[in-house]
Subunit: 270 residues, 2 copies
C-alpha cells in the first residue's frame, strides 16, 4: 500500500538478493478498509516510494488506479478458518478485500516468489491458505518484522504519532515480548501472563482489542494442554521446521490502531 | 465432470487442432451440486472417458480425488452479477462451487487456453468474469453446443432418459428455436413469443424453471426497448464481434433437469 518504510525495504532487499528481477505493487486497496477506517487519510507518497524501491534494487513498480483494479470487479475470494478471528473479527470484509486483490496482483504480475512481512501475521496465513487452496503458482516468503530501535514495529501508520506518542507506542512490543518470555518459561503461566500483559497495556493507555497466543498456521488460540504437548515434543516435528507459536496483539493507542506479534522463544530440543 | 459425449469431444478436437498439448480434467465436483441434486447418481465412466479423450488427441488427463481437491480447502471464489439469476437463483452455491474449482484447476494445470461449451451459457459468463477480474493468465474459448440429430443438446444427463423420453426431450430445442426466430423477425413479439413458448413447453410436459432472452455477457434479461436500440444499430458495434443475445431455458422433463440456449438469429447490418 506504499508509504514505504524500512520494513518494506527489507522485503525488497531480500527479493533483489534472491531474484533476477524484483517488482513491487503500490495500491491503497479500498476493499480492505472498513467504513470507519483511515482510507482517505492513509499516507500516500508515490514518487518518494518509487525512489526508495529503486535504491534497493527493484526494477518494476505496478501502481494501478482504483478504477483499473476495481472498475467492473464482480469477483471476490474468501478464505475461511484462518480469517475468522482477530483481524477478521474486528475488521469485517478486510481479508476478503486482501485476498481478492492479492489474487488479482498475482494474476497480473505472475511472480515466481512473493514476499510478505510477518507483522501482518494473519494476512500471511490468509494468503498462504489461498495460494494452497487455489493452487496459485507462486512461492511465498514471510519475513520477520523490522523494528524501530525502541522495538516498535515499523508501520506506515506510525506517521500519525507525535514524537512523544511514538516513543510510548513502543511499550506495546516491550509488554508482549515479556509476556512471550514468561509463557515460554512455563506454559502454565499462559493465562496469568496474558492477563498481566493486558492490565499493563491498559495502564499504559493502550485499548487492547485482542491479545492471544496463537498457532500462526491456523490462527487459532493455543490451549494450555496443546502447548504442554508441544513443549514436551521436539518442536522441529511441529508445524514444519520453524516455531509457529506467536503472541499477537492489536490495540488503539492515541487514536492509531497498532498490531504486532512476536515468536514464543521456545527451542527445538535437538 | 466426465461421462464424455460428442459435445465434450468437439472441445477436445478443437484444442488438439489449435495446441501442441491438450489436457482434460475429470472431476465430479461436489461443490456445484445442491443437496437435492444428482451427485451420487451422476454417471461415472472414467476408463471409457480416457479412451475417448485419447482418441481425439488429448495427451493429459487430470482425474483428482475429492480429497485431493477439497481435502482442507477453506477458500471460495464468488462471482456476483452474472451469477445472480437463472442457474444461480435455482441452484444456490452452484456457481461459487464452479468458480472455486475452475480457479483451482487453472492454478494446477496452468493452460494457455481453456475450452468451454456454450450449453452451460451462464457458467461461461461466470468463468469469463472471474478470469477478467482476477486477471488469471488463461485464454478462454467458448464453443457452440453439439446436438443430437433431433436438436436435443448433448448432455451427460441424457443417459437418464428412456428411448421415447429421449425423442420427446428434443421438443425443448425446437420450441426455443422457433421462439428465437419469432423475436428476431420483430422484437415487439418478445413478450408474446416467450409466453407462447412457455405454454407449448408446458403442454409438452416440460416444467419450465426459466425462459428468457438475455445478453450472454451480463446474463441479464434484455428489455424490448434495449432490443429495439440494438436492432436499429449495427450489431457488430455491440458486445464485440459476435451476437451476445440468446434465448435460455431450464426445465424438468421426465425427472431430468435440462438446460439449453440458442442464439437470436439477427445479422450484422454491414
Amino acid at each position: 500500500m506504499g508509504a514505504l518504510h524500512q520494513g518494506h525495504l527489507s522485503l525488497m532487499e531480500q527479493s533483489a538478493k534472491e531474484n533476477d528481477t524484483s517488482a513491487i505493487s503500490i495500491f491503497v486497496n479500498p476493499l480492505q478498509f472498513g467504513p470507519n477506517e483511515d482510507l482517505s487519510k492513509y499516507p500516500r507518497q508515490e514518487s518518494e516510494d518509487l525512489e526508495m524501491a529503486s535504491s534497493v534494487g527493484v526494477q518494476v513498480a505496478f501502481c494501478p488506479s482504483v478504477e483499473e483494479m476495481l472498475g467492473r470487479n464482480a469477483t471476490s475470494v474468501t478464505v475461511t478458518g484462518v480469517s475468522d478471528l482477530f483481524e477478521g473479527e474486528k475488521r469485517p470484509g478486510h481479508f476478503t478485500g486482501v485476498a481478492t486483490i492479492v489474487a488479482q496482483l498475482f494474476g497480473i504480475v505472475q511472480p515466481n516468489v512473493a514476499y510478505f512481512g510477518l507483522k501482518d501475521l494473519q494476512q500471511c496465513a490468509v494468503i498462504r491458505q489461498m495460494v494452497d487452496d487455489l493452487c496459485i503458482p507462486v512461492g511465498l516468503k514471510f519475513c520477520e518484522t523490522v523494528r524501530e530501535p525502541s522495538g516498535l514495529a515499523m508501520s506506515s501508520r506510525n506517521k500519525y504519532f507525535s514524537a512523544g506518542e511514538f516513543e510510548r507506542a513502543s511499550n506495546l512490543n516491550r509488554v508482549i515480548v515479556a509476556c512471550a518470555n514468561e509463557i515460554a518459561k512455563d506454559f502454565k503461566n499462559k493465562k496469568s501472563a496474558l492477563n498481566r500483559a493486558l492490565n499493563e497495556l491498559s495502564n499504559l493507555e493502550f485499548e487492547v482489542q485482542y491479545l492471544e497466543l496463537v498457532n500462526s498456521l491456523t490462527m487459532q488460540p493455543v490451549t494450555e494442554q496443546e502447548l504442554g504437548q508441544i513443549l514436551s515434543q521436539r518442536l522441529s516435528q511441529v508445524g514444519g521446521t520453524s516455531n509457529p507459536y506467536r503472541i499477537i496483539v492489536a490495540a488503539q493507542f492515541c487514536g492509531v490502531r497498532l498490531i504486532d506479534n512476536v515468536s514464543l522463544p521456545i527451542q527445538s530440543q535437538n
